[in-house]
């Protein structure tokens, strides 16, 4: 692997859950790359497949009830082909994850310090003392108050935000090259959140960490991300440099999402704008564009084909048949779709 090839390279990823009554197509055709030292924000509708995509990169889905296809190359590893031993080495050391729900990731019967020490010693031949010293440094970096004491705390003895920071420390413990972060700052107040976001930016610069992170907080995404990828119905419907996607969104879903939080959208007493209709049934996906049923720009043709990505220049792409119609739609808020 040379230095210019992306650290995360996902091609046509498809994930189907087969455990329920009907198979659920949670991810259907995700292409995504993240370079060394780059950070990409994955945003999108609740239930659109963001966490499932992230978990696939660590192969965390139960194999018997999940069908995964496509290609996942991370730091040169063909993740879907890894045997169980190399997979265990890969997790945590090459790529690690900050989970959406800290209580799921942390073991309730061990102190958080013990879990970090354990994780370091599984991957590296260092003494217990050395590992504990590193754990303490990590706790300081993620700004946990009275860090030495907190190493000996059990997860239930921490507040939601401290658990989240403890998990960030755990994820960084083995100095991974790739960090997958699922809502890493939702449980944090604004003052701590900005500190963690600055820390992520620092790690990205200093260690060349590639970061793929899921968030619903546009402000947080703008602070850290070089690029945005927007998911809807199991696919990435738009991606591009942060500035482009924020200022000039071209997929109607992204547009609607941005409008839900435009200035003045949260006037007290007024009803909040939300996208009408409901997300597609992943057990019964439509033949055409998955957003068509709710799209203000939809035309007949949208019901027939799943739109391919349209190149809009400078790495900006959108899967929509009508990117011409959405150009500059945000600037002219009065303009109605034709």
């Amino acid at each position: 692997m040379n230095d210019t090839s992306p650290l995360i390279d996902v091609r046509d990823l498809r994930v189907v859950f087969t455990g329920g009554k009907k198979p659920v197509e949670a991810v259907n055709g995700v292409d995504l790359t993240v370079a060394r030292g780059e950070s990409v924000a994955l945003i999108g509708e609740s239930g659109s497949g963001k966490s499932v995509t992230l978990r696939s990169l660590l192969r965390l889905h139960p194999e018997r009830r999940t069908r995964i296809s496509g290609g996942i190359r991370i730091a040169g590893h063909d993740v879907l082909a890894l045997g169980s031993r190399p997979l265990a080495d890969y997790r945590g050391k090459v790529a690690s994850m900050i989970f959406q729900e800290p209580l799921l990731a942390l073991d309730p019967v061990y102190t958080v310090g013990a879990q970090i020490v354990e994780s370091i010693r599984r991957h590296e031949a260092v003494s217990r003392e050395e590992a504990r010293k590193r754990a303490l440094e990590l706790f300081e970096r993620v700004r946990i108050p009275s860090p030495a004491r907190r190493l000996d705390a059990y997860p239930h003895e921490m507040s939601g935000g401290m658990r989240q920071r403890a998990m960030i420390a755990l994820a960084l413990a083995c100095r991974p090259q790739v960090l997958l972060a699922d809502e890493p700052t939702t449980a944090l107040d604004a003052t701590v959140q900005i500190q963690i976001l600055l820390l992520l930016r620092e790690l990205q610069r200093e260690l060349g960490l590639a970061i793929l992170f899921v968030t619903h907080d546009m402000g947080a995404a703008v602070e850290v991300a070089d690029r945005f990828a927007v998911m809807y119905g199991g696919r990435i419907v738009e991606e591009g440099p942060t500035r482009e996607v924020i200022r000039n969104p071209r997929h109607p879903y992204t547009l609607a999402l941005m409008q839900a939080r435009a200035d003045g959208a949260m006037t007290k007493g007024a009803r909040l704008a939300s996208i009408p209709g409901s997300p597609p049934d992943l057990a019964n996906l439509p033949a055409g564009c998955a957003f068509a049923e709710r799209c203000a720009y939809a035309r007949e043709a949208c019901l027939a084909t799943r739109p391919e990505a349209v190149d809009l220049g400078t790495g900006h792409r959108a899967r929509c048949l009508r990117t011409d119609a959405t150009a500059h739609a945000l600037q002219h808020t009065e303009a109605q779709p034709a």
């Binding site: 859950f17 329920g20 009554k21 945003i43 999108g44 509708e45 609740s46 239930g47 963001k50 966490s51 499932v52 959406q100 729900e101 209580l103 799921l104 700004r143 946990i144 108050p145 009275s146 004491r149 000996d152 003895e157 921490m158 507040s159 939601g160 935000g161 401290m162 699922d182 809502e183 939702t186 449980a187 944090l188 107040d189 604004a190 003052t191 701590v192 959140q193 900005i194 500190q195 976001l197 600055l198 619903h216 907080d217 546009m218 402000g219 947080a220 703008v222 602070e223 500035r243 924020i246 999402l257 839900a260 949260m266 007290k268 009803r271 909040l272 704008a273 939300s274 049934d281 057990a283």
Partner: protein
């Protein structure tokens, strides 16, 4: 309780209003929760065990039909306060009065209180029973309180639809088959299913995208109007708190720093911590990223909180007096702040009384 009041109760709907609109739905006085720390070897010898002062003397009221927003630094005691209000843990000291009655008294047994007060927990996964389908999870509470199963299921499916989870697709799924935001909405539906009077929402919309969040917030507002609900809304999302709250309470390290009407508090924060918090909000402008955290300094330690004002170690206006004197929560024109700048004759140079004297 006066006898006159209890007589009124006899005719009253058991989960209806008791003391009239002017009586706060919830009054919290001197609430304290200290968690014991595991003792170290030395402490066992000396006998001195330390405690985490998670909630350290908190007073507030929640009025009938209002939404009280609660914000504050991570670890400042918001969830602990919520768990105390739910009687999931026992307070070390203090009193919680619900519509004029002490919770746990003969007039308001815990079981009755539990039906009237529901909570959406910060951790959406561990608060759902993994062995119940989500429809059964939502219908469980009402059934415990005597609602027939058929009716409880109908109510559950109706609520699922209202939080944007089509019952046909989702009702029979297991918790692990849902996304984070979908589980969070199940928890909201479950809290609302028992037709409570007070709902405590602890980071209840944090995992939702902005469009679904808008839908859920609209629903909360509608139900509030329909059923006269009262909300205690804990969140780190300051935009949402400002939008949904009538009043806001700001906490810092186990204490109340400031309370006041939402608009006034956001437009003109009195407490320096509130000011720091508001200025930490990300800008949404890719060309104006934050380069330095507005609030520096180490987050404080609830085991040995700083003396005097707890914020003095990080406060840009701290003066020597701040390390000595504990600010009181002073009321002025419907607003309260615990800061010596706003406390008469407290000896802080920015104090208006000091300025007049000069």
């Amino acid at each position: 309780m006066s006898i006159g009041m209890s007589v009124e109760h006899i005719g009253a709907d058991i989960h209806g209003d008791r003391g009239g609109p002017a009586q706060p739905l919830l009054s919290v006085r001197g609430l304290v929760k200290h968690f014991d720390l595991k003792k170290g070897f030395l402490e066992t010898l000396t006998g001195g065990g330390k405690v985490v002062r998670a909630v350290d003397g908190v007073d507030f009221e929640v009025l009938k039909g209002e939404t009280l927003g609660v914000v504050g630094e991570s670890g400042c005691g918001k969830s602990t306060t919520a768990r105390l209000l739910m009687h999931l843990i026992d307070p070390s000291a203090g009193e919680i009065v619900f519509d004029g009655e002490t919770v746990g008294s003969a007039a308001l047994p815990l079981r009755e209180y539990r039906r009237q007060v529901q909570m959406v927990f910060q951790d959406s996964y561990s608060s759902l029973n993994p062995r119940l389908t989500i429809q059964d999870s939502i219908a469980f509470g009402p059934q415990v309180h005597g609602v027939p199963r058929r009716e409880a299921i109908t109510r559950a499916r109706d609520l699922l639809a209202r939080v944007g989870l089509e019952p046909r697709r989702f009702a029979e799924r297991w918790p692990h088959e849902l996304s984070g935001g979908q589980r969070q909405r199940v928890n909201i539906a479950r809290a609302l299913a028992s037709e409570p009077r007070l709902v405590i929402l602890d980071e209840a919309v944090s995992a939702l995208d902005k469009s679904v969040e808008a839908q859920v917030l609209n629903l909360l507002m509608d139900l509030k109007d329909e059923f006269g609900l009262t909300y205690l809304f804990i969140s780190h999302d300051l935009h949402v708190v400002r939008y949904i709250s009538d009043r806001v309470m700001v906490m810092y390290l186990g204490k109340v720093a400031e309370t006041g009407p939402a608009e006034a508090l956001f437009d003109d924060p009195l407490h320096p911590y509130t000011r720091a918090l508001l200025s930490s909000m990300p800008s949404m402008d890719p060309d104006r990223r934050t380069e330095e955290a507005p609030l520096a300094g180490d987050p404080p330690n609830p085991i040995d909180p700083p003396p005097g004002c707890r914020f003095h170690t990080r406060c840009p206006f701290a003066e020597p007096v701040c390390a000595e004197r504990v600010p009181a929560l002073e009321e002025r024109a419907g607003r309260q702040a615990a800061c010596l700048i706003h406390e008469a004759d407290a000896g802080h140079s920015r104090n208006p009384t000091a300025i007049y004297a000069a």
